[in-house]
Amino acid sequence: MTPRQDVAATVTSAHHVERNGRLGGWAHRHARWLFPAPAIFLVVAIIAYPIAYTVWMSLQEWYASSLTAPKFIGLANYEKIAVGDPRFREAVVRTVYFTVLVLVGETVLGVAMALLFNREFWGRGLLRTLAILPMVATPTAIGLVFVMMYHPTLGVANYLLTVIGLSPFKWTYSSQTALYALALVDVWQWTPLIMLIALAGLASLPREPYEAAHIDGASTLRAFWHITLPLLRPAIVVAILFRAIDALKTFDIIYIITQGGPANATETINILLFNQAFSYFNMGYASSMAVALFTVVMGVSLILIKVRRTTAW
């Protein structure tokens, strides 16, 4: 008897009572629904119901700070965010711009790093360890450190700029540079994720095409362009979509470092909606923004699910 069968035999012989009796038998027959039932209940209670409530709330006008009851106003909130609120429109543009910025930065850097590190070298384990640190560090701590590093007069960021001969700038303290400074934090934090995903993709590449290309006399660059990139594309696309979903939702870092300032320069949809809901208690209006954001993120996710199915992993 193999050890595994041995385990199975000993554990089962003593416990075959549970299937007897009416309740036990019923539970056994419906196990495939009983097992996930608590999770399904929780998902419905803490996810589905709140989403439905938000959609309903988005059709109301209601200030949580006042004593008046919610008033049904149909699609008026949506009309306002679509055409009547320049601040929301600016927030949308900012959110998309921020997302594109960090995606481009993280993809280019992450893939470049993956290509560089895709070999055997001393310190490979250390590299992987270092790469995960920014992704798991507490956002509040990261935000705090960057607040201090970005300080225009005392911060180490400007000192380092002057050391390499550049002129200092105001980072998150100026409305011209604040969004870029925040994007830099995001790039710092999440480039390693793209790198690790791309590294995993590179590790699974087959050797044969390269050997064939080598025999045919193709240059390394051509081999990279015509073999590596196309084969790596599924991994990169998945990485980008994951990051796109999270970048659209970025809240912690922005709220902790700038709270949307200076002069609304970093007010993305998330920040605007948060302030509408919890500073002005304008719940109906904030809900309509939540639904809009939710729709966009779900759209990106549907692409992700589709890609996932076609790339078979």
């Binding site: 595994r4 385990v7 199975a8 554990v11 089962t12 012989s13 075959h16 549970e18 299937r19 539970a27 056994h28 196990a31 495939r32 097992f35 996930p36 999770a39 399904i40 998902v43 803490i46 996810i47 709140p50 989403i51 409530y53 949580a64 850097l109 790093m113 590299l127 270092l130 790469a131 995960i132 640190l133 920014p134 798991v136 560090a137 507490t138 956002p139 509040t140 701590a141 935000g143 705090l144 201090m148 005392l154 710092w188 994720l193 690790l196 995903i197 991994a235 998945v238 990485a239 994951f242 809240f251 909606l273 948060f274 809901a277 919890f278 809900s287 954001l293 993120v297 699910i305 996932r308």
Partner: protein
């Protein structure tokens, strides 16, 4: 010729390591800067130009964090919420993950993925209204339940992978011998995936501990967790950088240590099994 080949290779290796250091420097530097600021006396923490290696060491920042603020209470709050969220998440998530893996419940798996995808901020308005009506704002219960949004999907998705690796023959053998599905799950599958349970428990703990968005609204005076407490310190300690850095180090160090224990599973946890290492 031999000499030149050798020199070329040496230069190549040196160049590689130079690039490697260049790429990894920002990662290391931010953490290095946080820790060194936390042990610098105030004058040196805000000195310009800053000192990178030569500075005097003090524990004043750390002492101040504990004496000026109820930091132990905040730590306790964070612990209660993270442990509660992880415990509840495992109790609910393990059977669900087992069931998804065993009966290939793809749709259920996708529904749980949706929970991870939806912007957290879009749950916040209804939750705030519910918990306010139930007078549950500023209770551990509200925080634990909401943190489950972060913890549960990770637990389920990472555990699906582990349960799928349990050989089906083994479970079938147990079933044929008269064991119930519950018995098979509890006594055959679960002991085999113990390392996975440890890893997911740590992941869920880390993400609950780090959570900012839900706690900033639903935690109050009594239940304020560390990320919120430290965020509030920014306005008070604007220029007291040693204290700020000490607080930042204190909240993130435990998480970094825990994450290192499960580093093999981090990427798979963050990408929901899309990438296996």
């Amino acid at each position: 010729m031999v000499m030149r080949g050798w020199r070329r290779r040496w230069l190549g290796t040196a160049g590689f390591y130079a690039l490697a250091v260049l790429f990894m420097l920002p990662t290391v530097f931010v953490f290095y800067w946080m820790v060194t600021l936390s042990i610098k006396p105030q004058v040196e923490a805000t000195a310009y130009p800053p000192s990178f290696v030569r500075f005097s060491v003090t524990t004043a920042g750390y002492r101040e964090v504990f004496t000026k603020y109820p930091f132990l209470l905040y730590t306790w709050n964070s612990l209660v919420v993270a442990v509660g969220c992880t415990g509840l998440g495992l109790a609910v998530g393990l059977p669900a993950a087992y069931s998804i893996a065993r009966w290939r419940q793809r749709r259920l798996a996708l529904a749980i993925l949706v929970a991870r995808i939806i912007p957290g901020i879009s749950y916040l308005i209804p939750w705030y209204i519910f918990f306010r009506n139930l007078r549950m704002v500023d209770t551990y219960g509200a925080l634990i339940l909401t943190h489950l949004i972060v913890g549960l999907p990770i637990i389920i998705w990472v555990m699906i992978g582990f349960f799928e690796d349990v050989p089906a023959d083994l479970e079938d053998a147990a079933l044929i011998d008269g064991c119930s599905y519950f018995g098979t799950f509890w006594r055959v599958a679960l002991p085999l995936v113990k390392p996975g349970v440890m890893a997911t428990a740590i992941l869920s703990f880390v993400f609950s501990w780090n959570n900012f968005l839900f706690s900033v609204i639903l935690a109050g005076r009594q239940t304020r967790t560390l990320p919120i407490a430290v965020f509030n310190m920014i306005s008070y300690e604007e220029i007291n950088w040693g204290t700020l850095a000490a607080a930042a180090t204190l909240i993130t160090l435990p998480v970094l240590v825990l994450a290192l224990l499960v580093q093999r599973h981090i990427v798979s946890g963050l990408t929901f099994g899309a990438v296996k290492q």
